[in-house]
Amino acid sequence: MRKLHFHPCGNFNDRYEQELTIFETDFGRTAVLAGLVILFAVIPYASSAYFLYILNTIAIMSIAAIGLNILIGFTGQLSLGHGAFFGVGAYAAAILSTDAGFPFLFAVPCAGVITALVGVLFGLPSGRLKGLYLTIATLAGQFIIEYLLVHWEGLTRGTMGIVLPEASIFGVALGGDRCFFYIAYGALILMTFIAVNLMRTRYGRAFVAIRDNDRAAEGMGIPIFPYKLLSFAISSFYAGFAGALWAYYMVSITTEPFNLGLSVEYIAMVIIGGLGSITGSIFGAIFITGLNEGLRWLTDILMSTNILSAIGLSMAPLRELAFGTAIVLFILLEPRGLAEVWRIIRSNFRLWPFSY
């Protein structure tokens, strides 16, 4: 049997494989495996329906946030249309499953592919240019998609919304929060696995090179435009995939949630979690979903005690204020986000009592 080894006290890597490894020690790998076992065997049975709902939301949001992080954190391009792409995925899944009768297992990846194609459509004109033109194009995409969702009634049924059939795999119905927990977290683990490994391939390295210095990247033979577009397509695929899961989870969808506010929410997740960190995106999703629920709880309490109902305090502006403040504070104080906080905590433990 191999000897378990722990963190060395410095960086002693002498081969590239050591640098690329995901788990630096066997301890980390065991901890993640143990965590997964607890996640799947204990948590669904130990938590209430409400808590399961929050967990499922976190899983779906994490998938979309990972997608956005591939674009912002790894390729250095900002998208303001992620919320709309999430909506495209949700509607694609809804339309495929109702009108075309696609089964769940097939409809979700198809929705992802459709969203990626829509993303490429908006990425094409802007990717050719230097600078942050993609940001502006995705802003336009956000508004155009929102408009189409509401007004293309032949396809999306407008403001009526669509009711999806129950998700089922090979005839086994997957209703309820607990069943969906397994789907959502299975998907999250799969997508995390793909993203983490994608970033270790030549594609991931090309994205990082473009982010760090596009001229140098081009000089080293990376065709920038195709890679930028590819990154945007992958990011849209993740958004669409998450949107499709969300549509199945919510059962009925309407056009309202997919607005610019949702896009900003995703940007907040990525920044708070940590740019350029896949696990950070999951932290960000946990933070934002927690913040959402915390604010809801707070407004409920304030409403019921009649302190603020006279002023007519509502949830939406508070949320907006909290997200904005969180984005600004994280950028100013900890631009690498919760992932960096987590790393600092871990290395403090590792290096204790000689923390320098």
Binding site: I136, Y147, V264, F323, L332
Partner: protein
């Protein structure tokens, strides 16, 4: 024909306002190449401060207007000092995400204080300024806004062309390290450009507020409509901002008048995507040869 002319006049005046709103945006882009997503919120803030001064404090207009502008100027300084200065030297994408965060911070705060209701200023412009020309009727607000817009356009044109501060700003936008090494005080330039941009934003917020009433949501959505305007005009051209604004304004009113009212708010963004395809640097933007 009458309908057409009325639409034309409306489009021109709305477009002029877009141009006015876009000027402040171009100001910031020209001096620091930051896309400011909080522009609409700065406009709304200016309008609300004016409302407070004129409505609740009961100040006369000739006092309230300069006071608001002074407030916006100081606000621009404060925003730059608190939020943007720590990011000098960081990648641009952080700064842009910061403005996204600032936008929702300001918007949330304003919604908490004033709510999503529509407010209107008391009528203070004399009727005599209205222009009547046959069946066409231009209300006094538009006339005033066009005059204000022209004055500011001229001032900015001269400022960037001849004043030393304006030249510093252009040099910083062009190449920050080079400007630094030639002795340009980059921090001062940033502070000044944010202050001026906030001032212009506040002023266009007031004018828009007089015309449409003040509502946080409306004004912040106009702040985003600045993007099609500046892309059409060229991101770094102040004259282009005005011309782009007029084109977008005309397009909007004609779409609203002849096609459908719901298409009206999206058509600028459809145009935006189209321009990015055919003429990405806009009508008057500086064409960078370097492409990727």
């Amino acid at each position: 024909m009458e309908f057409f002319i009325q639409l034309l006049v409306n489009g021109l005046s709305i477009g002029f306002l877009y141009g006015l709103a876009a000027m402040g945006f171009v100001m910031i882009f020209k001096s620091s190449s930051v896309l400011n997503f909080a522009h609409g919120e700065l406009m709304a803030l200016g309008a609300f401060v004016f409302l407070v001064l004129i409505g609740w404090a009961g100040l006369p207009v000739y006092l309230a207007f300069p006071l608001t502008l002074v407030f916006c100027f100081i606000l621009g300084f404060v925003v730059e000092r608190l939020f943007l200065r720590p990011l000098i030297g960081e990648p641009l994408i952080y700064v842009i995400m910061l403005t996204v965060g600032l936008a929702s911070m300001f918007k949330g705060a304003m919604l908490l204080i004033w709510g999503g209701n529509l407010y209107t200023f008391p009528d203070f412009l004399p009727e005599g300024l209205a222009i009547r020309w046959g069946s066409v009727n231009i209300p006094p607000v538009y006339a005033v806004s066009i005059v204000i817009g022209l004055i500011f356009l001229m001032l900015f044109g001269l400022f960037f062309k001849y004043s030393s501060q304006g030249i510093y700003m252009r040099s910083v936008a062009d190449n920050q390290p080079a400007a630094l090494s030639l002795g340009v005080h980059v921090r001062k330039v940033f502070a000044l450009s944010w202050a001026i941009a906030a001032l212009v934003a506040g002023m266009s917020g007031i004018v828009l507020g007089i015309i449409n009433g003040i509502n946080v949501h409306d004004l912040s959505s106009i702040g985003l409509k600045v993007f099609p305007v500046v892309i059409l005009g060229g991101l770094d051209s102040i004259g282009g901002a005005v011309i782009g604004g007029i084109i977008i304004g005309l397009l909007e009113t004609f779409t609203g008048g002849y096609l459908s009212t719901s298409l009206r708010d999206v058509i600028p963004y459809i145009v935006l995507v189209f321009i990015l395809m055919v003429k990405p640097y806009g009508l008057f933007g500086l064409v960078e040869i370097e492409r990727v």
